[in-house]
């Protein structure tokens, strides 16, 4: 893979990552935040796979699979939490959920 090609992948990955960051920080809907997180994880997956291919190492692939697994678990737990919060207060706004305040 040429260097220019690689930089395209990395650029796309960076754009996706910052879209995800913006989603997590700016949106108050936990579902959208979760999607932002997923976006960041997939951005990093893209970067991992791209670098892996560029340097001909399988480590990046393996790591990407690991990330996918973690992302699935994270989505499951995150959705479960959202459902519980929704049951308790009938609306979902992360700014209302402050019971972890010290």
């Amino acid at each position: 893979m040429a260097v220019g090609e690689l930089s395209n992948y990395v650029t796309l990955s960076a754009v996706l990552f910052f879209l995800g960051v913006a989603g997590v920080i700016l949106r108050r809907n936990p579902l959208v935040m979760l999607m932002g997180v997923e976006l960041m994880l997939n951005a990093s997956n893209l970067a991992l796979v791209a670098f892996s291919r560029a340097w001909g190492s399988m480590v990046g692939h393996i790591f990407a699979f690991l990330v996918i697994t973690v992302a699935a678990a994270e989505a499951a737990i995150g959705l479960a939490i959202i459902v519980v919060v929704f049951h308790r207060s009938a609306r979902v706004d992360v700014d209302d959920v402050t019971i972890l305040k010290g």
């Binding site: 960051v21 997590v24 920080i25 108050r28 936990p30 935040m33 992360v94 700014d95 959920v97 402050t98 019971i99 972890l100 305040k101 010290g102």
Partner: protein, 645 residues
């Protein structure tokens, strides 16, 4: 060659019996006391009688001499090399043993009468027996360690007996004071022991006295002075005497036995026993002689200001022990010991006589409320009069011989100023003793109620129980002075030849002969008596006695009523600072610094917790922002610094 304080080592069952019988009596009375009560009194007395008999039977052992070894030595246990316990009965300890058991026995008999009806009489006799055991431990020990043990135990017995009526706050306070001051004395002896053991590696009398020459003069002086701290506390020498007058809170037989005849003379015993040390240290002799003289004088002066019959006798005891200490202190050992011997009898007699009066008047001790007792209580008059004549030193009573011997001995050993103090004290003694005698016995009764014998007490112990011991004491009060007649050839001198024979000899004869000295002393004593007569016993003085005595009480200078402020000085110098230090430790160091310091650590931990808690806002998006910033920071780091690898 004479071995100081080393006896013929063997087993002496009689000696052991003398020593242990009183202990057995005490333990028996303690364990069975509440059940046998009055029988316990008889039991305790019998035990002591047996101890006296075994002591008498031990006399041949004590006097046996061979190869320069004198007396009986019984080894007991060994703690360490150089630290072992044992008993030694030689003429010196024999004399004390006989007085302790003999006079002790008479006082036991007297106590059966005096305390008849007291519900704790068995406990009283347990204490008395324990005291005799402790005192025997003190005088029979053949080493400084055992001496210290006895020294401490007599202090304890004294504590128990002063505080015998322990519901009385004054008795409780007096007993504590006596004990603490005596512990201070013990501490002095302990220091002397440390020095001796560090220097010589042994604590037995024989071992120490054989090597006195190895001690440097300053070490020797230190040893003597620390030993003397113990003597001063035990024998009520200035300024550690303040417990003795207070000790009169105890029952009168206790005052007679412990605080007159035996325990308070332990200091005299110690110096006489340790005479090789004093022989070798002129500075110690001078110091102890001066303290003894001051004590004699101070005691006599303070005796002037008392109204309590027992406190008068207490101050007179202090004064007489001052004489003894002055005698043995300057090197006139035989004279000091003779005065102890004479004093043991006449002072016990005075206290027991006073006890008869106190008992008859229903525990009245103030002489201003007595008066006119001569007709009602002729026996008490006889006892008190002979005792007073003896203490004043009137021929032919025992005090005449012993006091003269001390005073002339002081002169012989080169201390004319101490002689002067001694003579002055003799005059004051005559005055205050006869003051007491006149106020108590002469004139009209000043007691409000009509008082007969045993008026204050419901029980009726036979009168002879209290009178017989006193009568028996009168005999030696008149008799024992004669032992000392004949100078170096007197029975007294020959008895102590093995002990003091090789001790310090007096200086060259002075200008004054012993007869002249006696004449001087007798005339000043007569002057004192005459003054007392003119002040208290002329018909005119007797007519308006109550008002005169009251006026005297009001005009008494503060120096006398406060006993030269010794109590206040000791309190201000030692007691209050220690308590203040304790309060400072409790309030400042413990609470503020130590506990406060630990508390500050917990406060700090809590503050840190509060600080970190403030980061937990609970805003999920804030957390997300921090996360993002963290990622940005990482990214920025790698962009700016670059990956080095």
């Amino acid at each position: 060659m004479l071995h100081h304080a080393v006896g013929i080592s063997a087993h002496y069952p009689l000696l052991l019996a003398t020593w242990l019988l009183p202990l057995a009596g005490a333990l028996l009375l303690w364990s069975t006391g509440p059940r046998i009560q009055a029988k316990g009194a008889v039991l305790g007395t019998t035990v002591l009688g047996a101890a006296f008999v075994t002591a008498l039977l031990s006399i041949p052992d004590a006097l046996r001499a061979a190869d320069g070894y004198v007396g009986a030595q019984q080894p007991l246990v060994t703690w360490l090399p150089g630290m072992s316990l044992g008993l030694l009965l030689d003429p010196l300890s024999l004399l004390w043993t006989l007085v302790i058991t003999g006079v002790g026995f008479l006082i036991h008999v007297y106590s059966i009468g005096y305390l008849a009806g007291d519900r704790a009489i068995a406990r009283f006799f347990a204490y008395l027996n324990f005291f005799v055991f402790a005192m025997l431990t003190l005088v029979l020990s053949d080493n400084f360690l055992g001496l210290l043990v006895g020294w401490g135990l007599v202090g304890l017995a004294s504590y128990f007996l002063i505080g015998f009526w322990f519901e009385k706050p004054s008795a409780v306070a007096a007993s504590r004071k006596a004990f603490v001051i005596n512990v201070a004395g013990d501490v002095g002896i302990m220091l002397a022991i440390f020095i001796l053991f560090a220097q010589l590696g042994t604590l037995s009398y024989g071992g120490v006295f054989a090597h006195v020459a190895q001690l440097s003069p300053s070490t020797l002086l230190a040893v003597c002075l620390f030993l003397f701290v113990g003597c001063a506390a035990k024998s009520a020498q200035v300024p550690l005497h303040t417990w003795l007058p207070d000790a009169m809170e105890g029952p009168t037989p206790v005052s007679a036995l412990i605080h007159a005849a035996t325990m308070v003379t332990a200091g005299v015993y110690l110096i006489a026993r340790c005479h090789p040390l004093w022989d070798a240290s002129p500075d110690a002799r001078a110091f102890v002689g001066v303290v003894g003289a001051i004590t004699a004088l101070v005691g006599a002066i303070l005796g002037l200001g008392q109204w309590d019959i027992k406190r008068i006798l207490a101050y007179s005891t202090m004064s007489q022990i001052g004489y003894m200490i002055m005698g043995v202190g300057v090197g006139a050992y035989q004279a000091g010991v003779l005065h102890f011997f004479a004093h043991a009898f006449f002072k016990a007699q005075l206290f027991l006589g006073a006890g008869i009066i106190i008992h008859a008047l229903g525990d009245e001790q103030d002489i201003r409320r007595m008066g006119g007792l001569a007709r009602k209580m002729p026996f008490a008059l006889l006892a008190m009069l002979t005792g007073t004549l003896a203490i004043c030193g009137i021929f032919p009573f025992s005090g005449f011989f012993s006091k003269d011997a001390i005073l002339y001995g002081v002169l012989e050993h080169g201390h004319p100023y101490l002689y002067f103090i001694g003579v002055l004290t003799a005059a004051i003694t005559a005055y205050y003793m006869f003051r007491m005698l006149f106020v108590v016995f002469a004139g009209q009764a000043r007691t409000p109620a009509s008082v007969g014998e045993h008026a204050g007490h419901a029980h009726h112990a036979p009168a002879w129980l209290m009178q017989l011991p006193v009568a028996l004491l009168i005999v030696p009060t008149i008799g024992i002075g004669w032992l000392a007649i004949g100078g170096e050839q007197s029975p007294w001198a020959r008895f102590f030849e093995p002990i003091f024979g090789a001790s310090l000899q007096p200086l060259a004869r002075l200008g004054m002969s012993e007869a002249t000295s006696s004449l001087v002393v007798t005339s000043v004593v007569l002057l004192g008596i005459a003054t007392a007569f003119f002040v208290y016993a002329t018909p005119q003085a007797l007519r308006n006695a109550p008002e005169r005595l009251q006026r005297e009480g009001q005009r008494m200078p503060g120096m006398l009523t406060h006993a030269f402020y010794f109590d206040d000085a000791l309190d201000g110098l030692f007691v209050q600072p220690t308590r203040a230090l304790g309060r400072f430790c409790a309030a400042t160091v413990e609470r503020d610094v130590l506990d406060g310091g630990v508390h500050d650590i917990t406060v700090g931990a809590r503050w840190l917790g509060h600080f970190f808690r403030s980061f937990q806002t609970g805003f999920v998006r804030a957390y997300a922002l921090v996360l993002a910033l963290g990622v940005a920071a990482f990214a920025a780091y790698y962009v700016l610094v670059g990956v080095t690898r």
